[in-house]
């Protein structure tokens, strides 16, 4: 042992009784190892507040053509206008949402919207020589009103044009009522309120089907004849 190491060992030995004495009267020092980080994830862990996307961001047009979107915006404003303090479909950014919803939908629904919006624009040009997007409300009423129907759940009208007008009306109204903008202003008793309900997350989703190589199944049963 070199002298320097010998001196260090002697100092440590002399200090040892004092340390032992100190341990008898004071709490143990914190463990040398770091606390497992998972201990900090518990019920008291603060949860960050987040916004809904619509509140801070905007989406580009992905599905409808600019002309179709212009028609949809005018249609939305006519069917669900702002009334009193309540926002209308335009204030609720319903047309942009429908571009996303309908663009994500099965082909028959996409086609019904495209055909319906094109038909409205063609009717406007035929009857008033302007695009639907530029119609006055009374002019739009003359095109839309004849197709409005009363109907029962799951049974919207099936006749041409009435189907699109009434389904689009229901979609535009629901998307508006279900918006944050609508929720933020009080509803009168006869006005729909934004639904609040029990949302179910995916429950133990099946995440493996494409990752596991399945052995072909062969029955081990000698099947009884019935």
């Amino acid at each position: 042992m070199r002298r320097r190491d010998f001196v260090r060992a002697m100092i440590a030995a002399a200090a040892a009784p004092k340390l032992l004495l100190a341990q008898a009267v004071s709490p143990a020092p914190p463990p040398a190892a770091p606390v497992p980080w998972t201990l900090g994830l518990n019920g008291a862990t603060p949860i960050p507040n987040t916004q809904i996307e619509d509140a801070v961001a905007q989406a580009g047009l992905r599905f409808f053509t600019p002309a179709q979107m212009a028609t949809l915006e005018r249609l939305s404003d006519v069917l669900v206008p702002s009334l009193g303090d309540k926002p209308g479909a335009v204030q609720a950014e319903t047309p942009a949402f429908l571009d996303f919803l309908i663009g994500s939908s099965p082909v028959d629904r996409r086609q019904m919207y495209r055909d319906g919006l094109d038909w409205l624009d063609a009717e406007a040009r035929k009857q008033f020589s302007v695009p639907f997007a530029q119609l006055e409300t009374v002019q739009a009423d003359r095109i839309l009103q004849p197709w409005m129907r009363a109907w029962m759940p799951d049974h919207p009208p099936i006749e041409a044009h009435a189907d699109f007008i009434n389904i689009a009306h229901a979609d535009i109204r629901s998307a508006t009522v279900n918006s944050k903008a609508w929720s933020d202003t009080p509803s009168s008793p006869a006005q729909e309120s934004t639904p609040v309900g029990l949302y179910w997350y995916p429950i133990e989703p099946d995440i493996y089907p494409n990752r596991i190589t399945r052995m072909p199944f062969t029955s081990r049963t000698d099947r009884a004849t019935p």
Binding site: F97, A150, A190, T221
Partner: protein, 523 residues
């Protein structure tokens, strides 16, 4: 390692399987329950949210659950995904197969209307000559109905009408509103009975297998259960031809495993139980397995307004309450347009109207919503669908589900009988509304697609004759004595009634019979 066979293997955890588990375990019989889906923990799996916080603002996620009209974005994840467990059908005759595989099955979400069948259903053929009589009658099932009503805590009122048998009810003493009484008086004028409804209260509003049946079974210490196991086929003893267990696949890992059992009780839901028997090539010496698929027509009805409640004048004395028009056609008279009959749910309601009830939009629509607020009066049908051999399911070997199990092909459609019944219902409701002084706002005589009611029954029907039925009067296979099927597939006719109470009573009765047969070592 070879495991000891369990006494009874129960496949399915809804009302049918839950009742079987309760009865059998309370008699000291060990059971193993298999369920295709996971256990639900509401605290973990669900959360209160406003529609605007959901990606699709509450709309049904596009492209999913095309045949589940009841679905929306809030509940989309509780239904069986049609891509994961597909089924096939002729596009000209679609079928709405509405399924839940969570532990507890559809008992988690049912509407809780609880009606007994009458002998107009049990002995329907004797009454009108169509189809087959059940091998039991109301008197056979009445004691079990009574006990099931006690478990479910069914409220109701004795009406003394033979086609609407009374039961073991929590008294329904709530006074009816004057709009309901007016409607009832109109019914008397037109020969249409308007009665109190009958509904299960359960506990805390939930009347499910998971809170009313399974806790009792687990408390015996005799019930074990597996979640997330998809049964591929039943297995048989090649010496005896009896079932001796099941082969299943783990839903998540795809691990293939099997269990052995002395007795198998199928309670997977009408079409899943039949699919399993067909994929196992069992219990079909009669050739009627899969046939006589029935349900009830829904979606037909009339929406009205009570004029005296319009303009902000609705009061609790005038509006509110619900009732049932039990079947009244073809009881003492005979219709020349259709056999059997329908019931109507009747609701008087003080809330807001749905906008689609008015052919208007914008400010004009809002004026109507304001004007009609609080005056809604609804009538909706529950109509019996006849059992036809042609309405059937079979295995489509060309299509398999996510676990490689061949799927069902469903071939069924409504006939003139159901469509004529629907038109009669709308005409009758409109006449009742007029006689009541109500304003009709909208009506519909076109039924929703078959299956929509989630009351599919039949395909494994009961009967005395093994040549024309799959099960005997104890829900026991004619072919295989240690195989029981206790869900709605055993129904011989559909009736207009919601089937849950009858499924519970039948499962209770079959399970007590099974326990006694096991005690006597006959099974």
């Amino acid at each position: 390692m070879t495991k000891e066979p369990v006494d009874v293997l129960i496949i399915g955890s809804g009302h049918a399987g839950g009742m079987a588990a309760k009865i059998l375990t309370e008699k000291g019989i060990s059971c193993l329950m298999l369920n295709a889906g996971p256990v639900v923990d509401v605290a973990r799996d669900a959360k209160q949210e406003p529609a605007y916080a959901l990606p699709f603002r509450g709309f049904k996620p596009p492209g999913r659950l095309a045949h589940v009209f009841q679905s929306n974005e809030f509940n989309a994840n509780v239904w069986v995904d049609e891509e994961e467990v597909p089924y096939t059908y002729d596009p000209a005759n679609p079928y709405n197969w509405v399924r839940v595989r969570l532990f507890g099955g559809r008992s988690l979400f049912w509407s809780r209307q609880s009606f007994r069948l009458s002998d107009y259903e049990f002995k329907a053929k004797s009454h009108d000559g169509f189809g087959e009589d059940w091998p039991i009658n109301l008197a056979d099932l009445a004691p079990y109905y009574s006990r099931a009503e006690d478990i479910l805590q069914v409220s109701g009122r004795a009406e003394g009408i033979p086609q609407y048998p009374d039961g073991n009810f929590i008294p329904d003493d709530v006074p009816w509103s004057s709009s309901m009484l007016r409607f009832q008086e109109a019914g008397k004028r037109l020969g249409v009975p308007v009665c109190r409804g009958r509904r299960a209260h359960g506990r805390d509003g939930l009347a499910s297998s998971v809170n009313l049946l399974l806790p009792d079974a687990f408390a015996t210490g005799k019930l074990e259960a597996l979640e997330n196991v998809v049964v591929r086929e039943l297995t048989t003893d090649k010496q005896t031809g009896l079932v001796d267990g099941a082969h299943f696949v783990d839903r998540l890992t795809r691990r293939e495993m099997s269990v052995k059992a002395r007795v198998v009780v199928l309670a997977a839901g009408t079409l899943e139980s039949t699919r399993l028997l067909m994929n196992s090539n069992l219990a079909n010496s009669s050739g009627v397995l899969g046939h006589y698929l029935m349900d009830q027509i829904y979606g037909v009805g009339v929406t009205c307004s009570v004029p005296e409640a319009q303009g902000g004048k609705a009061t609790a004395e005038l509006m509110g309450g619900a009732g049932v028009i039990p079947r009244f056609r073809n009881i003492t008279t005979k219709s020349d347009k259709f056999l059997r009959g329908y019931a109507m749910n009747v609701t008087s309601r003080m809330g807001a109207f749905e906008p689609r009830n008015f052919a208007a939009y914008g400010a004009e629509l809002q004026k109507k919503l304001d004007m009609y607020y609080g005056s809604a009066f609804h009538m909706t049908i529950m109509g019996e669908v006849l059992g036809h051999y042609e309405n059937h399911v079979r295995i489509n070997k060309d299509v398999v589900d996510a676990w490689g199990i061949p799927v069902l092909h469903i071939e069924t459609k409504y006939t003139d009988n159901e469509h004529n019944m629907a038109r009669d219902a709308v005409d009758t409701c409109a006449a009742l509304a007029e006689s009541s002084g109500f304003e009709v706002l909208s009506k519909n005589a076109e039924p929703n697609p078959p299956g929509y009611s989630i009351h599919e029954v039949g395909t494994c029907r009961m009967g005395n004759d093994p040549k024309h039925s799959v099960l005997n009067k104890w829900n026991q296979s004619h072919d295989i004595k240690n195989l029981f099927v206790v869900d709605g597939s055993g129904f011989t006719s559909a009736g207009w009634q919601n089937p849950t109470l009858t499924i519970l009573a039948l499962s209770m009765r079959a399970s007590e019979y099974l326990a006694e047969q096991m005690r006597q070592k006959n099974v």
